[in-house]
Symmetry: C2
Subunit: 302 residues, 2 copies
C-alpha cells in the first residue's frame, strides 16, 4: 500500500508520462529500460538461495520486465552492494548465475560498493525495433486474456523453503530459478498490430490482472479452470490462492485481440466495468482493486 | 582494494569488453549507460544531507558519469529502497531535488521497495549522436591534461560536516550539491576528432589521473600549481591532500590533443612511462598506482 502511495507522490512531483509501466519506452532512442532493486531479507534470503541461484534469478527478473514490454532483451547492468562478510566466491558464483541466465543478453557494467546487507540493482535495456510495445493501459473490451506457462509453482516453492522442506523439488526450482518468457513475448510483440496490454506475474497473476484492469478502465473476466497449473499444487489446501496470488512465476499475461490469442492459452476476456471477475463452477466472484491489494504481498511488510 | 579485486573476478567471469569505464558504450543503440548504487552510511549520511540535497546530489552523480563519457545526458531511472521510518515528505523532497538537478534530463521510472537502510540505485542514459565517446584507455603521449572547475572544495565540505562545523558554507554546498559538468563535456566531445580519455573526479583527482595512466599505459605529469582551487582551502593544514585526493567534486579531467586543450585549464601533459608525477617548486614526486590506491577512500572501509 505504502509503495503505491509513494508512486503517487513521485508521479505528482515529476509530472512525467513515463511512470506507470515496469519499463519506460524511450521512443527517440528505440529502447525500453527497466530498473529493479533487490534487497536481502526483503526480496530474497541467503538462507534459501545460493549465490549462483541468486545471480540467475536476478537476471531473469529483469529480463522478464523487458519481455513484458514486448521489446527484445539486449543489455543488463548490475550494481552490487556487499557486506564485508561476502567473499570472492560469492561474487564469482553470482556472476556465473547471471551469465547463464543471460543468453544473447550482454552484461555491460554497473557498480560495486560496500553495504551492510546484500543490495542488488539492475537496469535492463530492450530494443524495440520490429516490436509493438505494450502498456498496461491498453486492454480493450472484447480482447482476450492469454498467459504463458504454469501459475502458482513459485509461490508453493517459497512456502516449502520457509517450512524447511526439500521437495517437491520442481516447486523449489520454480521459485529459485525461474525462466523469463522471451519467446512468448516475441511471438506477440512481433505479430500484433494494435495497442495491447502485457505484464509479467512477478507480484502474482491477480496483481497483474488488477493492474491492467485499473490502468485500462475495464473488467477482466477469468475462467479459473483455464489457468494452467501443476496438478500437484492441489496438495496445498489453499492452492487456489497460490495460483492467483503466489507471485514470482515470471509468466506473462497478455490482453490482446482475438487473432493473436488463438495460438495461446486463453483464460478469459475483457468486458466493460472494473476489477477482476473469477468464474468457477458457474459462480462469479468479483474483486475490486482494493480486495486484491489487501491480499497481495506488500513489499513493506504491512 | 576489495572493490578492485571483485571487478577483476567479474571481468574474468563475464569475459566482457564492456567492463572498465564508468559508462558502457552500446554502439548499436547509439547510447551510453551507467549505473550507480548509493548506500546510506557508506556513500551518504542522513545526518548531513536533507532529502532534497540527497536527491540533487544523486542525480548529479549519475549525470556526471554520462558527462565523463562525452555523451549527452538524456534519461535517468531511479530505484529507491526505503526503511519503514521514511515518510511521504522524504520521498517528495528527494524527488524535488532530483528534478531540480535534472534540467533537460527526464526521469523515466524505476523501482520502489522496502529495506532497512536507504539504498538508491540509478541508471543514466546518454545519447552519443554527434559526440566522440571517451575511454580511460585513450590517453596518448603528447596529449594535454585539462580540468573543469575547482578541486578539493567538496572534500573540505565533508570534513566540516563531520566536525560539526557550519562553514565556510561554500565548501559544504560544494559537497552536498555539486554540479555535473555538462557544458565542459559537450565542448570537448562535440569538437574532438581523435580518441581521448575523460573521467569525472568522483573518487578524487589523483584517482582519475591514476586510472587513466594505468588503463592507457602512460605517465601523467601534473603541475600542482596549475590545479584550480579555492584559496580558502589553504586554511586546512593538509589542503594539498584535499585537492588531490578529496573526491566528490564531480569535476572533469580530460586528456586530449593540444588543439582541444588550448581553450581550457591545462594542468599537465602525457609522457611515456606509468603512474602520476606531481611537479611543485621544481620538484617531481612520482606516484605509482599502489601509492595512490593506499591513500584513496576505500568503499569497503579497509
Amino acid at each position: 500500500m505504502r509503495e503505491k502511495e509513494f508512486i503517487e507522490i513521485i508521479k505528482n512531483t515529476l509530472n512525467s508520462n513515463y511512470i506507470g509501466d515496469d519499463c519506460a519506452y524511450l521512443k527517440d532512442l528505440g529502447i525500453v529500460i527497466s530498473q529493479d532493486n533487490l534487497v536481502e531479507d526483503v526480496h530474497f534470503s541467503l538462507k534459501y538461495s545460493n549465490p549462483y541461484q541468486l545471480g540467475w534469478k536476478s537476471a531473469m527478473v529483469n529480463i522478464s520486465d523487458i519481455c513484458a514490454s514486448g521489446a527484445e532483451p539486449k543489455y543488463l547492468t548490475v550494481g552490487l552492494s556487499l557486506p564485508a562478510s561476502v567473499d570472492n566466491d560469492f561474487v564469482e558464483n553470482f556472476y556465473k548465475g547471471l551469465k547463464s541466465a543471460s543468453k544473447n543478453i550482454e552484461i555491460v557494467g554497473g557498480d560495486i560498493t560496500g553495504s551492510d546487507k546484500v543490495f542488488i540493482s539492475f537496469a535492463a535495456i530492450g530494443k524495440t525495433e520490429g516490436r509493438k510495445i505494450s502498456s498496461r493501459k491498453n486492454a480493450k473490451s472484447g480482447y482476450k486474456i492469454i498467459v504463458s506457462g504454469q501459475h502458482g509453482s513459485s509461490g508453493a516453492g517459497l512456502r516449502l523453503l520457509v517450512q524447511g522442506k526439500k521437495g517437491p523439488e520442481k516447486f523449489i526450482k520454480a521459485h529459485l530459478m525461474p525462466y523469463a518468457q522471451i519467446d512468448f513475448s516475441k511471438q506477440i510483440a512481433e505479430k500484433v498490430k494494435e495497442d495491447y496490454a502485457m505484464m509479467d506475474t512477478s507480484d502474482g497473476l491477480m496483481d497483474s490482472l488488477s493492474q491492467i484492469a485499473e490502468a485500462s478502465g475495464v473488467n477482466l473476466e477469468v475462467d479459473f479452470d483455464k489457468i494452467p497449473y501443476d496438478k500437484d499444487l492441489e496438495k496445498f489446501s489453499d492452492f487456489k490462492d497460490l495460483i492467483l496470488y503466489g507471485g514470482e512465476d515470471y509468466q506473462i499475461v497478455a490482453v490482446v485481440p482475438e487473432y493473436i490469442a488463438k495460438n495461446h492459452t486463453v483464460i478469459g476476456q475483457v468486458k466493460t466495468g472494473s476489477g477482476v471477475s473469477i468464474i468457477q463452477n458457474n459462480t462469479v466472484q468479483n474483486f475490486s482493486k482494493y480486495d486484491i491489494e489487501k491480499k497481495i504481498f506488500n513489499h513493506f511488510g504491512k
